[in-house]
Amino acid sequence: MDYIVSSDILNEGDRIKPRKIKQAIVEIVSDSGEGAQKCGQSFGAISAKMGNGVWTVEIIPAEIQPPARSREGASGIRVRIGSDKVTNMGNHADLVIALNEQVVYGRIRQDAYNGNTLMFIENKWAKSEQETIRQQYSEALLKFKELGIKVVEIPMEEECLKLMPDPRKGKNMWILGLLSYMYDRDIPKAEDQIRRIFKKKTDAVIDLNIKLLHAGYDWARENLPFRYEVTPMDVDNDMVVMNGNEALSMGIMASGIELCSMYPITPATSVSHHLAENFERVGGIVHQAEDEISAIGFAIGASFAGKPAVTVTSGPGLALKTEFIGLAVMAEIPLVIIDVQRGGPSTGLPTKVEQSDLLAAIYGEAGDAPKIVLAAATIEECFHFVVLARKLAESFRTPVILLSDANLATGVQPFPRPKIDPLWLTNPIDQSPWKDGAGPFEWDENTGTSKRPIPGQKGGMYTVTGLAHGKTGKVAYDPEINQASVESRSRKIASFQKSLKPPKINGDPEGDILLVGWGSTLGAIEEAVADARAEGLKVSSLHLRFLFPIVPGLVDIFNRFKKVITVEINYSDTLGHPMITQENRRYAQLAWLLRAKTHMDIDCFSNVYGQPLNPEKVLKMIKSELKIENSEVKG
């Protein structure tokens, strides 16, 4: 095979000895419904179980069954595995396995491949009965080769046909076999994985898929003159492997929340799928409401009645819930609201990542409605931040919005197994008699906090209202009472902010550029900063988890850098267009917030391609900011 670089071939007798590599980025792209994601997630899970660092990103079309061989309908997955912890999707793929040539185009446009990428492509199209397909196929191959991609045609269909009549549903496990050989994966673990993902299917289905796995493995052994090994890490503690939405679901269960009230919305829905499957085992329940508004209203009702509740949604759902969020602020009802962000506005990009709900989460309600807004930056934080959110919601008697996004939702990453604290699971129901004569909103002068009576408590009978009210809970239009009550609700947030510590800086505490991020971009930003620092650039970064109230100490930190730039996946105007001036430029959302909070000239780097950020783009931006001409970066 002439595509093989000679250094890759390390023969050891008749067996090929795997070459050690630090990391590999593998993509599988296909038509929707061919199981590319199942294959990739399995490859990731097996790798994580072997002790590798893993990060996966799903490539999902918005439709369930888009037309076959369509460029827009490309469905797939990228899996990055490494010898160390992997925190982001990386830059260009080392290997792409394509089930047809059309689905590759979109990924090329997204700059997923370069001259170092090896492509295994299904060869059946070359023999298609339709001339247009044969033509499209040969044209595409030429084009891919022009781009420097090393293209190898593989008889996937032909090989799978030996085991099953319709390989459309089986090729993915054959590919898993091929990958297992190529990256020296543990075959018993791969078989276990197949048993797990097909646990609801018949034994015959499981057997067939295991046969396909072995067939792919054997084919690769006979035909591939190279093999890699990505050495696993030594980890002492137990690790768990799951995606962000599974982590949110597990976090919900571990937080002591016992009701999830939701309405289906991409990309948040799989949280409720996971909960629906498991929640009742830990004493909880899922309510699928008739709409987004009802979903939050139901959760608020449950929480008012002393049952910790969560509602899980995405941008359009958050928009519908705003009136109820305002009520929860006004009536001081604890509630956790999880927003798995997607591209917007409106229906936007349902399956793609964006971080555009930050300001809506903080300021979306009518009137003054301060609440706590957090953002998880890793899969691990998806778990722990739910526990934190419930605690904050109850301590401060407020709704807490936890932001995640489509990148975290389907991304898989191992993290240390959480140690469940029984205190997380306790119920807030206090049925001891309410202090005689005390109002339901006896705001503490200093902290603005107050204790709430819960139905069932004798003597605490009060009426929650979204109307202005004073300490007694009674409707009050008195101007002094309104000023005092709005102040108390604001004071709670200030007193919570007082308990926060300044954020940690990644890199030196001073330098030329400080990048500031939030949410799922953490890994890409820190990898770019590490690469920049390795080249001697004075760049650091920090990542915000507490967005509202904002962490303290930012002005002091920012002052030690020549330039502060936020890195976000949302829209901002780029200077340079004739219509855009310093005066009318719209900033990315965190930049907007930080400019307002710090009075400093904070810049932003943001875009809305619907793609997770990769380190290379951040590094390029750093270099262009530092006016480094040669911005050639390694892939």
């Binding site: 179980k49 002790g51 137990d238 690790m239 768990v240 597990m250 016992e258 009701l259 009230s261 498991n278 009742e280 085992r281 830990v282 004493g283 909880g284 329940i285 309510h287 409401a289 008739e290 709409d291 508004i293 009802s294 209203g297 139901f298 959760a299 608020i300 009702g301 449950a302 929480s303 008012f304 009645a305 049952k307 509740a309 009136e323 109820f324 009520l327 191992p414 197994r417 469940i420 029984p422 699971l425 306790t426 129901i429 206090d430 049925q431 001891s432 009576p453 139905p455 069932g456 004798k458 003597g459 605490g460 009978m461 009060y462 009426t463 929650v464 209202t465 979204g466 009674k474 409707v475």
Partner: protein, 322 residues
């Protein structure tokens, strides 16, 4: 003190004899002559006669004149958002079967802005009493057409008369999936009002009661004739229906025997337009109840939760014997 859910008690305590004063709070601020006053007193009487513990009773309302109702009750109350009383009340009840829940909603609240929730609350059929205060007009915002305003109603939004036929709330409710209790009564016949709400409180499911209500401020004429001439009220009578004393029955000029288990007849009676049919139109005590589903796994202790969580985490845990 933290109390586990399974420890609280749903049996009314016998050491307290609750009186009317235990269910009242403040002075109702509706207009003089508003039907709200008599409904409030009646609900308080029903609570007293049922000996509901005030602390175990929650009244949830939306927005509008009816929305103020919980403020005048000595129980827990939730005066929420316009149209959203049903979702909140359902959330309260879902995991707290020990609470007695009332929903108070108006014609704009229930049949217009909150119509989606009305449809689904009926389907959820959770044990609670839902009172529709239907005065055929938006009162609190000062006379706009409501979905139940009769065709041609002159209002501030339709000064030349409303142009669409009204929704008939009982007819609509009788058409909804899993409907289990539909009754109609009027605010000005206290005996019938009491007997209806009492029957509703005893119903094992969602009891939907439309209360035809007078609005002296904006719809003085709507039920004027009917209120003064009892002949316009048509009593739906049955041994399984609303239980009225013989003396109270005499107030009605017209009586129709109606078996509340017959939904087809109920739908026919719902369409009567030469008078107001009052009584129990439909009842079925065997319908699926979503609150039973909601409460089916209550009360798991912390230790058991933790154990089961650890088992779940095991499924995601990687082995380190590499």
């Amino acid at each position: 003190m933290l109390v586990q859910t399974h420890e609280y008690c749903s049996v009314p305590s016998q050491d307290h004899d609750y009186g009317m004063e235990d269910y009242g709070k403040g002075v109702a601020r509706w207009c003089p002559g508003c039907g709200g006053h008599s409904i409030l007193t009646t609900v308080q009487r029903v609570c007293k006669d049922m000996q509901y513990e005030p602390e175990k009773t929650v009244v949830v309302s939306g927005i509008g004149c009816s929305g103020r109702f919980p403020h005048y009750m000595g129980t827990y109350g939730f005066h929420g958002l316009h149209g959203r009383a049903f979702p909140v009340a359902s959330g309260v009840k879902f995991r707290r079967p020990d609470l007695n829940v009332f929903v108070v909603t108006g014609d704009g609240d229930c049949c217009s802005i909150g119509a989606a929730h009305w449809v689904h609350a009926i389907r959820y059929n959770m044990k609670m009493v839902a009172l529709l205060f239907d005065n055929g007009i938006y009162g609190l915002t000062k006379k706009q057409t409501s979905p139940t305003s009769p065709l041609g109603t002159h209002s501030n939004t339709h000064p030349r008369g409303s142009v669409l036929p009204p929704i008939n709330p009982i007819q609509t409710t009788l058409g909804l999936a899993n409907v289990s209790f539909v009754a109609q009564t009027v605010d000005w016949n206290s005996a019938h009002l009491y007997a209806t709400i009492r029957k509703a409180a005893e119903h094992p499911g969602l009891a939907f009661v439309r209360i035809v209500q007078r609005c002296p401020a904006f719809m003085r004429d709507l039920y004027g004739d009917i209120a003064v001439n009892p002949k316009n009220l048509i009593l739906l009578s049955h041994e399984n229906g609303i239980n009225l004393k013989p003396k109270a029955r005499k107030a009605f000029g017209r009586v129709i025997e109606h078996d509340p288990s017959n939904i087809h007849k109920a739908r026919e009676h719902a369409e009567i337009n030469n008078g107001i049919p009052i009584g129990l139109l439909y009842q079925n005590t065997d319908n699926a109840r979503y609150d039973e589903y909601g409460a089916h796994n209550l009360g798991m202790g912390v230790e058991e939760k933790k154990q089961n969580l650890e088992c779940l985490l095991d499924q995601y845990t990687t082995s380190n014997s590499v």
